[in-house]
């Protein structure tokens, strides 16, 4: 399948702070790609390199198969970008900002812009300086979508949107995805990644921790085991971490051989046993913790 974003050993060093280190990720056409990491992990740095706003110290960043350093203008014409904290010219009216963006792209996007403003309930006659954070976010969404880009790069795009608008936003993303757009979605809201993304990468302290399909990540991560009617694990039991005890039950994440798990559990008495897929939060923590907490 066609590759839309590829970074190879991408590194960005700042004078004092770490940026990203040897980051290699691949986003295929049609992916809804989740880019997960805590604040300061290097998500925005990666995005800014992909947009040509900053230059990498070493490594390669390609979008649509082209080097962003060499074909920046051509690449950007196919990208829609929603920044995490967008600032627009404050004295401008919303409609003028939308028109200016379309003009910068040398496109007539008036019809699509009107449709998007309608869906997002964005008042176009207001001045940007009068908009709340959520409404500025809506403006960012319109600016990113109005020219129907092939690639959407979204940096914490749903922050500031109320639940109804978040739903409208994801409906729009689904529409665009159905029409063939690739979506690169940076976030630390893990439930969104799990719910909407097909593939994901976890980044920690500037380095890639893991990159895979969300399904595989769920499978490769530990399972959540819950024993009811029991609060103690067998002595010498290994492979369990994130152990919690509540209301006469013990719950833990387990990664290891299930045959051995079942054999070890025979040493304790319990009423009920459940094995479930971990949620995204647990997957994240599983890959994110430097060392797992041993039971």
């Amino acid at each position: 399948m066609e590759t839309v974003i590829r970074t190879q050993n991408l590194t960005k060093s700042y004078h004092r702070a770490r940026g990203i280190v040897d980051l290699s990720i691949t986003v295929k056409k049609g992916d809804i790609y989740g880019f997960i990491g805590s604040n300061g992990a290097g998500k925005s740095t990666t995005i800014r390199i992909l947009l040509g706003l900053i230059k990498s110290s070493s490594g390669k960043a390609e979008v649509f198969g082209e080097d962003i350093r060499r074909r920046r203008r051509e690449i950007l014409s196919g990208i829609g970008y929603i920044p995490s904290e967008a600032s627009y010219y404050p004295s401008m009216r919303v409609i003028d900002a939308i028109q200016m963006s379309a003009n910068l792209r040398r496109m007539d996007c008036a019809r699509e812009a009107r449709r998007l403003c309608g869906i997002l309930e964005l008042e176009t006659g207001r001045k940007v300086e009068e908009l709340s954070f959520g409404n500025r976010k809506k403006l960012g969404i319109v600016l990113a979508l109005q020219h129907r880009p092939d690639l959407l790069i979204l940096d914490e795009a749903t922050g500031g949107l109320d639940p109804l608008m978040q739903k409208a936003f994801w409906d729009l993303m689904a529409q665009r995805h159905d029409q063939g757009a690739t979506i690169f979605f940076s976030s630390h809201v893990l439930s969104e990644i799990q719910q909407h993304c097909t593939r994901a990468a976890i980044i920690r302290e500037g380095r890639l921790v893991v990159e895979d399909s969300v399904d595989s990540l769920s499978r490769s991560a530990a399972k959540r085991i819950t024993l009811r009617g029991c609060t103690q694990l067998p002595e010498g039991f290994s492979g369990a971490f994130d152990v919690t005890r509540l209301d006469g039950s013990v719950s833990f994440l387990f990664r290891g051989e299930y045959k051995k798990l079942l054999s070890d559990l025979q040493a304790v008495v319990f009423d009920d046993l459940s094995i479930t897929e971990p949620d995204m939060e647990e997957i994240f923590m599983h890959f994110y913790e430097k060392e797992g907490i041993k039971a």
Binding site: R48, L53, K55, S77, Y89, M100, S101, L104, R105
Partner: protein, 262 residues
Amino acid sequence: MTVLRYETRRGLRSAVIWALSLSAFTLAAMLLYPQVSHYSNIFNNVIARLGILSEIFSLNDMDVFEFMNYYGLEVGNFIGLGGGMFAAVTGITIVAREEGRHTAEFLFPHPIGRLSILTQKFVSLIIQIAVLNLVCILASRLGAGMIGESFPGRVFTDFHLSLFLMNLQVAVICFGISCLKKRDSAVPGLGIVLVFYFLNLFINVNREAATLKNFTPYYYTDIARITKASGPLWPAIGIGFAAAGVILLIGVIRFVKKDLAI
């Protein structure tokens, strides 16, 4: 041309406000001329006693009550200093503002080259300075008509051309510096203009410091020097613009290559 249109529309309001303010001062000074010239004998005695002050403002090099000289001195101060400040404030913030106010994250992800953005902003800056100068010239013509005086065409043109070029040189320098800055503070621009202005006053007092003349564009806007040279002081203008061009070039090259602070 989108950036040019936006910048010009945004900046023109400010340019017109500055121009009207300077024009008001200019008109006031011109309307005082008939009374001032009527008491020229008294004022000449005062000037003769000013000593070093008359040298600072080049009052001893010419008949300050001749209409064009009077105009050049007064307007030289108003439009020279005010226009220089406008050029500096506008020039030093026009690029740095994008990073300083975080609008770079809106503008630069569009498919438009940084050099194109800089070019359009620079052209807009020139347009704004031209508008300011044009309004001031029109106000001067109006003022002259109101008091029944007329300007000697050649000297008037040379003088205003020199003022415009001085504004432009300040703008070029500040634009170059703006490309290097990450915050949109106007203070450095105002500082530059004041240093240039006072450097010219310093040169007026210390004739042996004339070698500094190439370091201040105010030197070539002095009406006495323009009259004496029978035209704009092209060597000083040329050297001034060459130096400003180097600063501009350094700024543009750096801006095109640098990481944008967002």
